[in-house]
C-alpha cells in the first residue's frame, strides 16, 4: 500500500477521517463493536467526491483535497442530533459523521466537520501552503474529480503517536440495503 511522504512530513495512508476523536473508548474490541453498530445506522453505501485543493489552519489540515462545500460544515451537538437529525437536510456524508458522534457519544469532539483528504501533514507557513496548492491546481486540477468513491467500508485505525506508526485495526463493511 502506498504511503505519502512529502515536504518532510510524516508517512501516512490516504484517507478521509469520519471520526477522529475517539478518546473515551480505549479498547479496540469496543471500538469495533460500536463501528459495526454505526455501519447498520448508515445502512447503505454512499458516495463521496472532492471539489478542490485547499489549505487548512493546522498540522493535520495543512494541504488537502476538500469536498464540496469546501468550507467547514457546522454540526449541531450530539444532543441536538438526537432530537433533530431526521428533520435536517444533511447530506449523507455529514449524516454519517453525526451518526458516528452519536454512536460513540462524542460530546467533546469538533462541532464542525470538514471532510477532506490530507495531502500533507506539516506546520507550514501560509505562503508555503499556498505554493503547494498552486502546484496542485496547476498540474493536478483533474484529481479532485477523480477522487470519488462509494463508501462501502469503515476503517478503524489506531492513531496514537506519530502518524508513521498508525496501524489499521479492522475494516467494517457498510451493509447493502
Amino acid at each position: 500500500m502506498a504511503k505519502y511522504f512529502v515536504c518532510g512530513g510524516p508517512i501516512f495512508e490516504p484517507h478521509v477521517t469520519l471520526l477522529g476523536s475517539i478518546i473515551d473508548t480505549p479498547e479496540a474490541e469496543t471500538v469495533i463493536k460500536k463501528t459495526k453498530e454505526l455501519a447498520t445506522k448508515i445502512k447503505h453505501p454512499y458516495r463521496i467526491s472532492f471539489k478542490d485543493f485547499v489549505t487548512g489552519p493546522h498540522y493535520f489540515r495543512c494541504v488537502m483535497a476538500a469536498m464540496e462545500p469546501t468550507t467547514e460544515v457546522r454540526i449541531p451537538t450530539y444532543y441536538s442530533i438526537q432530537q433533530f437529525n431526521s428533520h435536517l437536510p444533511f447530506n449523507q456524508v455529514v449524516n454519517a459523521y453525526t451518526q458516528a458522534r452519536a454512536v460513540f457519544a462524542d460530546t467533546h469532539g469538533d462541532e464542525v466537520y470538514f471532510p477532506h483528504i490530507s495531502l500533507i501533514y506539516a506546520d507550514l507557513s501560509e505562503e508555503d501552503k499556498q505554493q503547494y496548492v498552486k502546484e496542485l491546481k496547476d498540474h493536478y486540477s483533474h484529481l479532485p474529480a477523480l477522487l470519488s468513491w462509494e463508501v462501502k467500508t469503515i476503517h478503524i485505525w489506531h492513531t496514537e503517536g506519530d502518524a508513521s506508526t498508525w496501524k489499521e485495526v479492522a475494516v467494517i463493511s457498510v451493509p447493502e440495503d
Binding site: 500500500m1 502506498a2 504511503k3 505519502y4 511522504f5 512529502v6 515536504c7 518532510g8 508517512i11 495512508e13 490516504p14 484517507h15 478521509v16 477521517t17 469520519l18 471520526l19 477522529g20 476523536s21 475517539i22 478518546i23 473508548t25 480505549p26 479496540a28 471500538v31 463501528t35 454505526l38 463521496i48 493546522h58 498540522y59 493535520f60 458516528a100 483528504i117 495531502l119 506546520d123 503547494y132 502546484e135 496542485l136 498540474h139 493536478y140 484529481l143 477523480l146 477522487l147 470519488s148 468513491w149 463508501v151 462501502k152 467500508t153 469503515i154 476503517h155 478503524i156 485505525w157 489506531h158 492513531t159 496514537e160 503517536g161 506519530d162 502518524a163 485495526v169
Partner: protein
C-alpha cells in the same frame, strides 16, 4: 589552539544565537502541540486499493511528491 584574536566571546555568541534558538524551540513546540491532537482511534473512509480513485490519488501524489523533493514509499 586558535589565536585569541579570532575567538568570539561566548556571551556575544549566545546573544546572536538566542533569537534563532527561540524560533527553533517555538517551531518544535508547535509541532508537539499538533502531535498531541492525535487520538487513540479514528474512523477512516478509504477508496478501495483497486479503484480509480485510489490509483489516481497515488499516481498524482507520487508525481507531486517528486516535484516537492519528497518521495513515495
Amino acid at each position: 589552539m586558535p589565536s585569541q584574536k579570532y575567538m568570539v566571546p561566548l556571551g556575544l555568541l549566545s546573544c546572536f544565537a538566542r533569537p534563532f534558538l527561540e524560533l527553533f524551540e517555538s517551531r518544535q513546540s508547535g509541532n508537539e502541540d499538533s502531535m498531541q491532537q492525535t487520538r487513540k482511534f479514528s474512523l477512516w473512509l478509504r477508496p478501495e486499493p483497486s479503484s480509480v480513485a485510489h490509483t489516481e490519488l497515488v499516481a498524482a501524489v507520487k508525481a507531486f511528491s517528486a516535484k516537492t523533493s519528497g518521495e513515495l514509499l
